[in-house]
Amino acid sequence: MSESWMDMLREWEGYEPIHILSIIGGAWIAYEITRHLVPFITGLFKPNERFYALPWIPFLRLIIILAALSMIVPIIITPTRENMLALVGASALAIGFAIKDYISCLIAGIIFMFERPYRVGDWIQIGETYGEVIHLGMRTVLIRTIDANDITIPHSTLWHDQLSNATSGAHDLLCFAIFYVHPDHDNALARQALFDVAMTSVYLHLDRPIVVVMKHLPFGLYYKLKAYPMEAREQFKFIADLSERGQFALQEIGLKMVAAPAAVAEHG
C-alpha cells in the first residue's frame, strides 16, 4: 500500500518546494486582496451598487483556492487517472472521519454560494442572531449585529436552523412599528395619524409605499405601521422614530395604549 502511494508521487528535481510555496504565497496574497481591498472599494459605491458587487467576493475566493490546488496537486503526484481516483478516494475517507464538520460547512458554503440565501449587505436572522452580513467566507458567514458585535456562524447551521432574510439582495428593507391600543376610537383618524408619522420621518425612503395594517385582538386592537428606510443600516433609528412619534400622535388624538400579553408582543 505504502509502495503504491510512493509510486504516485512525482520525482522532484529540487525546485518544487519553492514552486509550491510561491503558489501558496500568490494564492494567499490574492485571497487577502479580495478580503480587504474589494470590500474597501465597494464601500465607496452607492448602497444599491454595493449589493451587486459584494456577493462576487466568495466566488473569487473559491476560484483562487481551486486554481492554487490545481497547480499544486500535479507537482506532488503524477496526474494519471488511477492516481487521481486514488487521491479522491483517500481524501474522502480522511474527510469522512476527521473533518466532516468542517467539510459540512464548506459544502454548505459552496451550495449557498449558488443558492444565495444571503449576500453581503443583507440583513438576516439565524437563530437569535440578527444583523448585517459583512463577510461571506467559504465556511462561515460573519454577521455584524446592531450592537456592533461581529458573530461568526457556520454555513452548516442552515442544515438544521431557520434563516430569515429581510433584504434578499435587494436594497429595500421593510420596517414596522406596532401599536396596541384600546379599540374605542376613530380608525380612519388613527390610520391617517400613523401615515403622517411615517411620511414625516426623515429616515423614510420617500418613493416606497407606507402601509398601515389594523387588526382586532381579544385584548384590544393593533396597528402595524410599515415603511422603508432610505438606508438599511438606520433601520433601528427609523423604527425608534416611528414608534416614539407614532405613540405620541395616537395619544394626541385620544387613543389609549394597552399592554399586549407578553406572548403576543414578542411575536408582533
Partner: protein
C-alpha cells in the same frame, strides 16, 4: 424673454449656459401672464389651478408680483409655530371662493415635515376638490416633490411649470466638503441640509422639532455648516448656501436621499 419660457417641471433641463443670478422678475411676470393666456385658450386663466415651481423662493417672488399686478388675492403662509402645533387653519376665503383668483406664493412655507405640519396642505387639497376655485400655487421644487408624495398636491395641479430663471443658482463652487462621511455613524449634517432644502430654509428654533436629534446636536451642526460656509442664517432662517447647492444636492443623491 427667451429665458422665461415656462416648461413642465418634470421635463425641465437646465440651460447650457448659466443665467445671470439677478432674476428679472418684471419680465417673468409678463411672461407668466402671457403663458397663462396661451394656456387658457377659451378664456383668460381658464386653466386654473396652476403651480409654478422654483428654487430659493424665486417662484414666490414672481407670484407676489403677478398677484399684485392682476389684483389676485394672496394667501400668505401661516406662522411655523401654528403649523407645528396643528392650529394652522385653512384660509377662510377658500370656503366661499366665488370668482376670485387666489395666489399661494410660497407653498413651502405652508407645511412642515412633522406629523402635524402636513395637515394644512392636506386640508387645502381636500377643500379645493370639494369647492373648486381658481388659484395659482408657487412652491419650491423640493417642497413640491415632497408634497406630491405626502398629500398628492399634484391632484390639484398635475403639471407644475417652471422657467430657467426660477431655477438658477450660482455656478458650481469647487471644494465643497463631504457632508456624508461613510465612516461615521451619524449623517446629521446631511439630514440638516436636506431638511433646509425641503423647507427652503428653516429657523433654528423649529429644526429640532423636525429632526430626530437632540437640539444641541442640531445647533452644533448648524454652527459647523456655517463654519464650512455650507449654510447661512438670514432673517431668522437658515438656508443652504446657493454656491454649494449643486454639490450638496449631488452628494445627497449619492447616498440615496431623495432630491428635487
Amino acid at each position: 424673454m427667451e429665458a422665461w419660457k415656462f416648461v413642465s417641471l418634470e421635463n425641465y433641463e437646465p440651460p447650457a449656459q448659466s443665467l445671470s443670478e439677478t432674476t428679472d422678475l418684471k419680465s417673468g411676470t409678463q411672461a407668466f401672464d402671457d403663458w397663462l393666456h396661451h394656456f387658457g385658450t377659451e378664456a383668460p386663466y381658464a386653466g386654473f389651478p396652476q403651480a409654478v415651481a422654483g428654487l430659493f423662493g424665486n417662484a414666490g417672488q414672481l407670484l407676489h408680483g403677478w398677484a399684485k399686478e392682476r389684483g389676485a388675492q394672496i394667501l400668505e403662509a401661516p406662522p411655523a409655530e401654528s403649523l407645528l402645533d396643528g392650529t394652522a387653519e385653512l384660509w377662510p376665503a377658500l370656503q366661499n371662493p366665488g370668482d376670485a383668483i387666489f395666489v399661494i406664493p410660497s407653498l413651502e412655507r405652508c407645511f412642515l415635515r412633522h406629523f402635524r405640519g402636513i395637515r394644512l396642505a392636506r386640508q387645502l387639497v381636500e377643500t379645493v376638490w370639494a369647492k373648486p376655485c381658481r388659484f395659482v400655487i408657487g412652491c419650491d421644487a423640493w417642497a413640491w416633490k415632497y408634497l406630491r408624495q405626502a398629500v398628492q398636491i399634484d391632484s390639484l395641479c398635475p403639471d407644475a411649470v417652471t422657467a430657467a430663471p426660477l431655477m438658477t443658482h450660482p455656478v458650481e463652487f469647487t471644494g465643497t466638503p463631504d457632508i456624508t462621511p461613510r465612516a461615521k455613524d451619524s449623517r446629521i449634517q446631511a439630514y440638516v441640509l436636506h431638511t433646509l432644502l425641503v423647507h427652503d430654509g428653516m429657523s433654528s428654533a423649529v429644526l429640532p422639532k423636525l429632526l430626530p436629534f437632540r437640539a444641541t446636536q442640531i445647533f452644533k451642526t448648524l454652527s459647523d455648516l456655517r463654519e464650512q460656509q455650507l449654510a447661512f442664517e438670514e432673517d431668522g432662517a437658515w438656508r443652504v448656501a446657493p454656491k454649494h447647492y449643486a454639490a450638496i444636492r449631488r452628494q445627497l443623491a449619492a447616498v440615496e436621499f431623495w432630491t428635487a
